[in-house]
């Protein structure tokens, strides 16, 4: 309909049109890829941990005096913690899940040397450990107090008699998590342990590890000088209990120091910091990029309206309605944006190709590009609305003036 005059007008002022189209192209390419990356990071941060992270706190005690007795200290500390009102369960634990620090080892389904290793994060906990973590036991049972092994601080290669593991660990070992309870797992020295329980899900220590969901529990109380406790409390009590426990434990025993009492969130936040940072920075950049492009569209459209005041007046004088003028500029923008997004789609895939070959990032989904194109169209139309309305308000009388 009006496309021909729009195109020929554009050809007469190529530079301005090319500039805007280029901005739109780059914006589309960057925004689609950035949104894609942000989504991946948010998914990663938001995946369920399997634990009651909101109501968990960790305490670390470090024995340093000559009179320090590790096992007695642990026993007394646990008694003190467990009888504190508001505490649901408490256990010793060798590392903090999702903290970026922990231990892993390999397990096998038999004692043959040639059998493939399966890596798993392992946690040493006592009889209340599963409850303190808030993980869901879906088969079998947890540990009893009687089976606990007390380490001495020396390394040991002795295998525990029983283990509990996550569904994903059982699947990695046996191909299925059905009927894993009662089976045996082996370490690479050929020693074995019986699987007594399966928990639904739990994340291990390193958020960037692809085997994060492969977790095994050992019934062990780690040796001196460090004692770490995990405490699960009633909802809403966490912050109050942190202070209370820190004071009580600090006063109860002078042969050690309480190095810290921390929430689980403290560690989770630290571990995902790089991902949070990336998401925030990309988000801010996207916002600024879109604003900048919108401003560019407004600027160029205003300029072209200014340059064409006389022409618009003439059109009005020969019968064009305000709506026609408005439509002209909107359509002109739509043509420009479309040219921009066509180039932009190619650019978006080029960026995505570069990202996925240089860094381990999956390829950009088509949905992101389609969504991006629609956003650009809407953005362009909204941005051009202001100058277009100004153009529409040019009175026909302008045509009769010389300047």
């Amino acid at each position: 309909m009006e496309l021909r005059p729009i195109l020929s007008a554009m050809l007469r002022n190529k530079t301005g049109a090319i500039l805007v189209a280029l901005q739109i192209a780059i914006t589309l390419a960057v925004v689609t890829n950035a949104v894609f990356i942000i989504n991946q990071r948010l998914e990663k941060i938001g995946r369920p941990s399997g634990m009651d992270t909101d109501n968990i706190l960790f305490i670390q005690s470090y024995g340093f005096a000559a009179a320090y007795n590790h096992n007695v200290t642990v026993q007394e500390d646990l008694e003190l913690i467990r009888k504190t009102p508001g505490v649901i369960a408490a256990s010793t634990i060798n590392g903090i899940p999702l903290s970026g620090g922990g231990s892993s080892t390999s397990y096998k389904v038999d004692a043959q040397e040639s059998t493939a290793d399966v890596s798993g994060n392992y946690y040493e906990i006592d009889e209340q450990g599963l409850d303190a973590l808030g993980v869901k036991l879906v088969a079998g049972r947890g540990f009893s107090h009687e089976i606990l092994r007390y380490d001495t601080g020396q390394p040991t290669s002795e295998m525990v008699p029983e283990v509990v593991m996550t569904r994903d660990m059982a699947k990695a070992l046996f191909g299925t998590d059905e009927g894993a309870v009662g089976k045996r797992v082996y370490d690479n020295l050929g020693q074995s342990a019986t699987i007594v329980g399966i928990v639904d899900r739990m994340l291990g220590a390193w958020v960037d590890w692809d085997k994060l969901t492969q977790v095994v529990f050992h019934p062990v109380v780690s040796g001196p000088p460090l004692a770490r406790y995990i405490v699960r409390v009633e909802p809403g009590q966490r912050d109050a209990l942190m202070k209370e426990l820190e004071t009580k434990l600090g006063e109860s025993n002078r042969t050690r120091v309480i190095s810290w009492v921390r929430t689980h969130d403290y560690y989770i936040e630290r571990s995902y910091k790089a991902d949070t940072r990336m998401a925030v920075l990309l988000g801010v950049t996207i916002f600024m990029l879109i604003s900048m492009t919108a401003l560019g569209i407004v600027g160029l459209a205003s300029f072209s309206v200014n340059a064409r005041v006389k022409q618009i007046g003439t059109r009005r004088a020969v019968g064009a309605r305000r709506l026609d003028i408005l439509r002209y500029f909107m359509l002109e923008n739509w043509v420009l944006t479309t040219a921009g997004v066509l180039v932009g789609c190619g650019l978006a895939y080029y960026f995505s190709y570069w990202l996925s070959s240089a860094y381990e990032v999956p390829k950009l989904g088509i949905g992101y590009v389609i969504g991006g194109v629609f956003c650009m169209w809407v953005l362009g139309q909204l941005a051009v609305l202001v100058p277009a309305r100004r153009a529409a308000s040019v009175p026909p009388a302008v045509a009769t003036r010389t300047v």
């Binding site: 000559a66 390394p155 940072r277």
Partner: protein
């Protein structure tokens, strides 16, 4: 003449304050974002030991599992750390000018009896255990005192070099050389106090966190084994072997010790490489080192690259920041085109009154440079604010977010170049203008 151009330029910029503000704003924001990304990028990709890059080498030898490489993604690489006994073999060689084998451990650090300052509480400190060559080899600055001597190292004496912070905490920043601090309830004599030392990245131990804070103190390497202190850093084992005592662990195939040597001549590098190869070949006879012979000496720069210290995220962000600057510049070009074509009548008048094309060109380039520099200065300010905001997003932020002044200067130059580049085409266009048609309608 320049002053005249500047005066005219300012006048012209004042004529359309909104347009001018938009252009300056576009350049400022573009520069600010670029500056921020560039600042973080240069810091994490910098080499704190660049001035000794040619003489300091990380030592690697491949003692890993014959069945699979140390790092699946990079099978060509040997482990980043050594076993205890291989590290001791490196230390025993007299070829290097200096040798450092080291590791971290956690200990309770407490002030001496009698020091009761509010800040002087016992705490779990991270201590680096290393021979004294660490300090001169990595060019670590001292505020008071110096490293312990070789005799103290050989005897694994109870001596310590304190970090500046801990000296402030325990002794209020005074010269504490000769005083005592307690580590795990044993007394250690302070022999030195470091000055500010925050290498970013922490090149000598990137394996345990390239952006980690430096340690609280430094003590002789063998102290750790004397008291059977566990490592507080990465420990990786592959071999099915029974480890039931600290002695077993020391004799195991577990890698947990970082090793560095200083070799001042290429001849020494070759000699030491031959020594390593010879050592591994010798060990192969005892059934160790079952993988193909692989030993490596890496300069600090190569080491940082091998350890992939610059995260992919930083590269992506820098790329996106550059794209953003490009969009800002395209924007500025568009706005300048609009502005200059609005000034067509004035320019035509100038031309008619005798101004040459060169004159018009200079006039407009000055105007554009004014926009560029103003945008750049504001951009640097904004960038600095952005860096402050970035601190919320880092765990150990101090080091990563301090404004590197060389980056600031680069940004300023960049903004000037960017401004002029953005202005070149519009300026060229206005110079080519035929004055006649614009004069006619007036």
């Amino acid at each position: 003449m320049l002053a005249y151009h500047i005066r005219l330029g300012l006048k012209s910029l004042r004529r359309n304050p909104v347009l001018t503000a938009l252009m300056i704003g576009a350049i400022a924001i573009g520069i600010a974002v670029c500056l921020t990304a560039l600042n973080v990028f240069t810091l994490v990709s910098s080499n704190p030991l660049a001035h000794r890059n040619d003489v300091v080498y990380a030592v690697q030898m491949d003692n890993w599992d014959p069945k699979e490489p140390w790092w699946d993604d990079h099978p060509e690489l040997a482990p980043f750390e050594l076993t205890y006994r291989d590290a001791k073999a490196v230390l025993a060689s007299d070829i290097p000018d200096r040798t450092v084998i080291m590791r971290k451990t956690a200990m309770i650090m407490a002030p001496p009896d009698g020091v009761t300052a509010e800040t002087a509480k016992p705490f779990v400190s991270v201590v680096r255990m290393t021979p004294p060559d660490f300090f001169p080899m990595f060019d670590v600055p001292f505020k008071y005192g110096g490293p312990w001597d070789d005799k103290a190292e050989a005897a694994a004496d109870a001596v310590i070099v304190l970090s500046k912070e801990n000296n402030e905490k325990f002794f209020g920043g005074e010269d504490s050389v000769g005083r005592m601090v307690k580590l795990d309830d044993r007394e250690y004599r302070v022999v030195g106090v470091l000055d500010d030392y925050y290498p970013v990245p922490k090149f000598f131990d990137v394996n345990n966190g390239a952006l980690d804070d430096p340690e609280d103190g430094y003590v002789p390497f063998e102290r750790g084994q004397m008291f059977e202190l566990q490592s507080a850093g990465n420990t990786n084992c592959w071999k099915p072997e029974s480890l039931n005592s600290f002695r077993d662990f020391l004799n195991s195939e577990c890698v947990w010790i970082q090793a560095w040597v200083e070799l001042r001549t290429p001849a020494k590098v070759a000699e030491f490489k031959a020594f390593l190869d010879g050592y591994v070949t010798e060990q192969k006879k005892f059934g160790r080192f079952e993988r193909p012979l692989k030993t490596k000496l890496s300069k600090v720069s190569e080491w940082l690259e091998m350890n992939e210290v610059v995260e992919d995220d930083n590269r992506v962000l820098l790329g996106i920041a550059c794209m953003f600057l490009a969009v800002c510049l395209l924007n500025t070009v568009g706005l300048l085109l609009a502005k200059f074509s609005g000034a067509a009548a004035v320019v035509s008048l100038h031309r008619a009154l005798g101004a040459s094309r060169a004159m018009i060109f200079r006039q407009h380039i000055v105007e554009v440079a004014l926009i560029g520099v103003t945008g750049g200065v504001i951009g640097i300010g904004l960038g600095w604010l952005l860096l402050l905001a970035l601190r919320q997003l880092y765990n150990s932020y101090e080091a990563v977010t301090h404004l590197d002044w060389s980056v600031g200067l680069i940004a300023l130059a960049l903004s000037l170049v960017a401004g002029v580049l953005a202005g070149l085409y519009p300026t060229w266009r206005i110079c080519r203008l035929q004055p006649a048609p614009y004069l006619k309608t007036q």
